[in-house]
């Protein structure tokens, strides 16, 4: 006496249809080929420019750069600087999240809190994290705290703004539905508001990461004795240009990998919200 368990309507995860699987892998292969070709051309042009430029201090040959990169990888220097920077990044991100998310919930739920705190936020937000460098240098000096502070500041605002937005766009129907089931206020917050806002918060976190990763270079360049930003400046002063290039590459790659990681986290934590991702 029960209804048929499955509706004749598509609605499942990845299709297991063999034709689609084949097409998908062909498309990936094609993309790979095009990327390789593009990079091939890029390196060729680079090499030609290097020959034309004639000054290896300014524009080293791509081969030299790869040599330097390989050497740095082997002796672990890239790994150590990269891990220092990444660690700072994670600490700063964790701090930003810890402060901005609860504040965002408060401001999203309470008009009063928002009216009170928002002006301060709007005054501070246009002052970029970089502008804080001199003052922060004075307060914290050169070291670990400085980059973390700058990154915390830079990452704070996207997360705050996105959390507020996430809370605000919670579907009121969901709240109404929960109330008609006798769900109390705490449970409403924990079991409806938080999950509902989570996709937008995750987008904010990815934006915060992108902004912070850009800021870390400046912070480390000027105010730290270690890290990827420090490294590129250090080797520039030593006029070891291939290593400068190598570290710049490392900055890009680590940034890309971290974003991939965040994207994967986003997918795991909020699988129902496809199509709301922001590319950093």
């Amino acid at each position: 006496m029960t209804l048929p368990a499955r509706s004749p309507v598509p609605g499942g995860p990845v299709a297991s249809d063999p034709a689609q699987v084949r097409r998908r892998s062909w498309m990936l292969n094609r993309k790979l080929w095009v990327s390789l070709r593009a990079f091939g051309v890029f390196f060729l042009v680079w090499w030609l420019l290097h020959l034309w430029n004639g000054n290896p201090l300014q524009l080293p040959s791509p081969l030299k750069v790869f040599e330097a990169l390989w050497g740095l990888l082997r002796d672990g220097e890239i790994a150590s600087h990269a891990s220092v920077s990444t660690l700072r990044m994670l600490v700063a991100l964790a701090l930003s999240i810890t402060v901005a998310v609860p504040l965002g919930f408060l401001m999203g739920l309470s008009r009063r809190a928002e009216d009170l705190i928002d002006p301060l936020v709007e005054i501070l937000r246009p002052i970029s994290g970089i502008a804080w460098l001199p003052l922060a240098l004075f307060i914290f000096g050169v070291g670990d705290t400085l980059p973390v502070f700058i990154m915390f500041y830079v990452g704070f605002f996207p997360i705050l703004l996105n959390t507020i937005a996430g809370v605000r766009q919670t579907d009121p129907r969901l709240l109404a539905a929960a109330r008609t089931m006798g769900v109390g206020r705490t449970a409403l917050l924990v079991h409806v508001l938080v999950p509902s806002a989570l996709p937008t918060v995750m987008v904010g976190i990815r934006l915060a990461f992108a902004a912070s990763w850009a800021a870390i270079v400046a912070a480390e360049l000027i105010g730290s004795p270690s890290g990827l930003g420090f490294a590129i400046e250090w080797y520039r002063q030593l006029l070891m240009t291939p290593k400068v290039f190598a570290f710049i590459l490392a900055i890009g790659v680590v940034g890309y990998l971290c974003d991939l990681g965040l994207r994967a986290l986003q997918h795991r934590m909020t699988p129902w919200a496809e199509g709301t991702g922001a590319s950093s």
Binding site: G12, R173, A176, A178, L198, E274
Partner: protein, 288 residues
């Protein structure tokens, strides 16, 4: 001591609702002086043109909105807010997108009042029972975005029933479905409501729809509303025999009742779509 046989399950007395526009301060009367008694175990359908306040009334009964005037009483006591005793099925199902079918069905049991006196095992059993009842066994781990409209509908229904409310409030629950699925679910709804059981075992249900045939099929009484402002035009008693699922539509009385109700709202329906009301045409389309 109340005589439970005659006192209504739900009583609306002179209920009015006005809305005040926030910026202009202009008042609009959405519902004017509505009075209605609903007996235990009755199936009431509410039909009417758009804007007649059907959903507003439902929201007030659910406790999500407060009447501007008049009272709403359930079992003789005024309603002060939402509660699990009056379960609601919303037009767009209002399923939590981040929860599986099983979590959604069990939401009220796990986080609200219905499951308070149950042990964990009892709760799980209850959830499984209602998932089975609506025919969704095997889909417990799916997310709403992976389900079709009809399946989401059934999840919402299972959730509603799992919370064990004594009044069911359904706001155009089948509106977004195709006709075939709708027919199937109408039959299911009647069965679950208890059409084949004695009256005392049936739940009280208030069902909003703009499909007049659906209303005549399902209801014991049909409340016909008119709009601007919303009020009860007439209450039509549906005297078709139960069970109706497979027999009602071929009963000649069915068409008569549908026409009777349609004639009450025809003029307003035409006006609602911006057309002129036709004068005394011999045959009309019966769809709302």
């Amino acid at each position: 001591m109340r005589n439970t046989a005659t006192s209504p399950k739900l009583r609306l007395s002179g209920v009015t609702k006005s809305f005040v526009a926030p910026r202009t301060g202009q008042q609009t009367l959405a519902v004017a002086e509505m009075s209605l008694d609903v007996q235990t175990g009755e199936f009431i359908c509410v039909v009417g043109p758009s804007g007649c306040g059907k959903s507003t009334v439902l929201n007030m009964i659910a406790g999500l909105d407060k009447p501007s005037g008049g009272t709403i009483e359930k079992d003789g006591q005024a309603i002060t807010g939402p509660g699990a005793d009056r379960g609601v099925m919303f037009q767009d199902y209002a399923l939590m997108p981040w929860q599986t079918v099983e979590d959604n069905v069990g939401f009220g049991l796990r986080h609200g009042t219905p499951g308070r006196d149950l042990s964990k095992d009892q709760r799980e059993q209850r959830i499984a029972h209602f998932i089975e009842l609506v025919g969704l066994r095997g889909s417990e781990r799916k997310y709403p975005h992976q389900l079709s409209g009809g399946m989401r509908q059934r999840v919402a229904l299972a959730r509603l029933l799992a919370n064990g409310p004594d009044i069911l409030l359904l706001d155009e629950p089948l509106g977004a479905l195709d006709a075939q699925t709708r027919h199937i679910l109408q039959a299911e709804l009647l069965r679950i409501w208890g059409e084949t059981a004695p009256v005392s075992e049936r739940k009280t249900a208030i069902f909003i729809t703009h499909d007049i045939e659906e209303a005549v099929l399902l209801a014991d009484r049909v409340v016909v509303m008119s709009s601007h402002p919303g009020r009860v035009r007439e209450v039509v008693t549906i005297d078709l025999p139960r069970p109706r699922a497979n027999t009602a539509r071929t009963n000649p009385r069915f068409g008569v009742l549908v026409e009777q109700i349609w004639s009450l709202i025809r003029d307003e329906a035409y006006r609602a779509i911006g057309g002129d009301t036709p004068q005394a045409k011999p045959t009309e389309e019966a769809t709302a």
